[in-house]
């Protein structure tokens, strides 16, 4: 049985999804202000890290990393509604890339497991 990451198409699929997803995020007024000041140059790598995690691929982030990485955002009010909006944009991007609904559901379930860490709970 191949992993979710393999079924989705591995690194090539991650690369394809990153652009589509991040364009949706930057166009979504519910959340794009969180990304106002981030350095676009480093975003390619960071978004790739995000997508690799979401796809269940190999990465080195721990729950604590997610906690620390979003701590400054939680202090400024990052909450469930923002998390839901990110997940929604992710689902939208994957649907556009013709990922089957069953895999999209798996991705969303995986991303859901990071919720408490990202939101510092």
């Amino acid at each position: 049985m191949s992993t979710l990451y393999e079924r989705l198409g591995g690194e090539a699929a991650v690369n394809a999804a990153v652009d589509v997803f991040y364009r949706h995020v930057l166009s979504d007024d519910r959340i794009n202000y969180w990304f106002e000041d981030v350095d676009m140059e480093r975003q390619a790598a960071k978004q790739k890290a995000f997508m690799t995690m979401a796809f269940g691929g190999p990465h080195n982030y721990t729950g604590d990393d997610m906690r620390n990485g979003h701590k400054h955002l939680v202090e400024k009010g990052l909450n469930d509604s923002h998390f839901d909006a990110v997940a929604e944009n992710l689902a939208k991007a994957l649907a556009e890339l013709n990922v089957p609904q069953a895999e999209i559901d798996e991705v969303l379930a995986l991303v859901g497991t990071t919720r408490n860490d990202v939101l510092g709970r």
């Binding site: 652009d19 991040y22 364009r23 930057l26 166009s27 676009m40 140059e41 975003q43 978004q47």
Partner: protein, 295 residues
């Protein structure tokens, strides 16, 4: 010790550890060969233990050179030419840090192409009260000695796909690296369309207008788009904000590689706009002219 950016970019504060190991953070971004010799950036260095240090040796990323010429390209932009030191290997569009006799260090993009031009050429805007640009304008002349540190930066032509459309956009002297990149791409036989947008406040700021028009008539696939914020201007020059006009002219930017150079605010704005217009995150290359910070 000269320093300029104070943030690990310009490498003008390079030093060498004679004994002891510099912290990893102070060695990030420098060439492997220099790292192996104990070189590090002093602006990034909070020593973790005893460190005995020395100034870099000539040739270790820092080269002695002399000015071969300075001329005005416009009222406020000068072209600086330097003898290219032996061993200074660069790609058009990278930048070098110039260090003068008063230990002022500032980074400038190289506008020349190593395969086409004997000298290193720079296009430098005169900044009121500017330590380096003022010195170049008022005190330096052909024959003046200075040091060149570098080259650094990833903003240069390296397209695996010669047919890929290229967007080169810059304001002010942001044109310097783009001019080098465009000529390098043409020299290497790039066949895809190359769109160069140059923005200035007013028409005299279009300091390479004639050479770029000549380049555009020489190469069918090279397109030069001149743009000023405030008119009046010649018929072929667009009057209005560069970003809006660029997107209107090209429509979707899907498949493009983009090079964005010049004022940090411009670069930041354009990075976002070209990405939203279809350029992939990995296809955006920038050279942001961050001003020097006081030490």
């Amino acid at each position: 010790m000269p320093s300029s950016c104070r943030s690990g970019v310009c490498q003008s504060c390079l030093m060498r550890a004679r004994e002891g190991t510099p912290p990893a953070a102070a060695q990030s971004g420098i060439k492997d060969t220099l790292r192996a010799q104990g070189y590090f950036l002093s602006c990034r260095c909070v020593p973790e233990g005893d460190l005995s240090v020395a100034l870099p040796e000539d040739g270790a990323g820092r080269f002695a050179s002399t000015i071969t010429g300075i001329r005005q390209l416009s009222d406020t932009v000068m072209e600086l030419r330097l003898a290219r030191p032996e061993g200074f290997e660069y790609r058009a569009g990278q930048f070098a840090t110039l260090i003068n006799g008063q230990e002022v260090a500032r980074s400038y993009s190289v506008a020349s192409v190593p395969e086409l031009d004997a000298d290193l050429e720079f296009q430098i805007a005169l900044v009121p009260g500017g330590a380096m640009s003022g010195w170049l304008a008022n005190e330096a002349a052909a024959g003046t000695a200075l040091h060149v540190q570098g080259p650094n930066g990833h903003c240069f032509y390296a397209c695996a796909d010669r047919e890929q459309p290229l967007l080169l956009a810059g304001t002010g002297t942001g044109l310097a690296p783009l001019y080098g990149i465009a000529r390098d791409a043409l020299r290497q036989g790039h066949t895809g369309p190359i769109h160069l947008f140059h923005g200035a406040l007013r028409e005299p700021g279009l300091y390479l207008h004639e050479p770029l028009r000549a380049l555009a008539s020489e190469w069918e696939h090279f397109h030069y788009h001149a743009c000023v914020l405030n008119g009046p201007a010649a018929d072929e020059v667009h009057v209005g904000p560069l970003d809006a006009w660029l997107l209107e002219t090209l429509g979707t930017l899907k498949g493009f590689r983009a090079y964005l150079c010049g004022a940090p605010e411009f670069v930041k704005l354009m990075q976002r706009k070209v990405f939203l217009a279809g350029v992939s995150l990995q296809e955006v290359f920038v050279d942001s002219f961050l001003p020097a910070k006081a030490p």
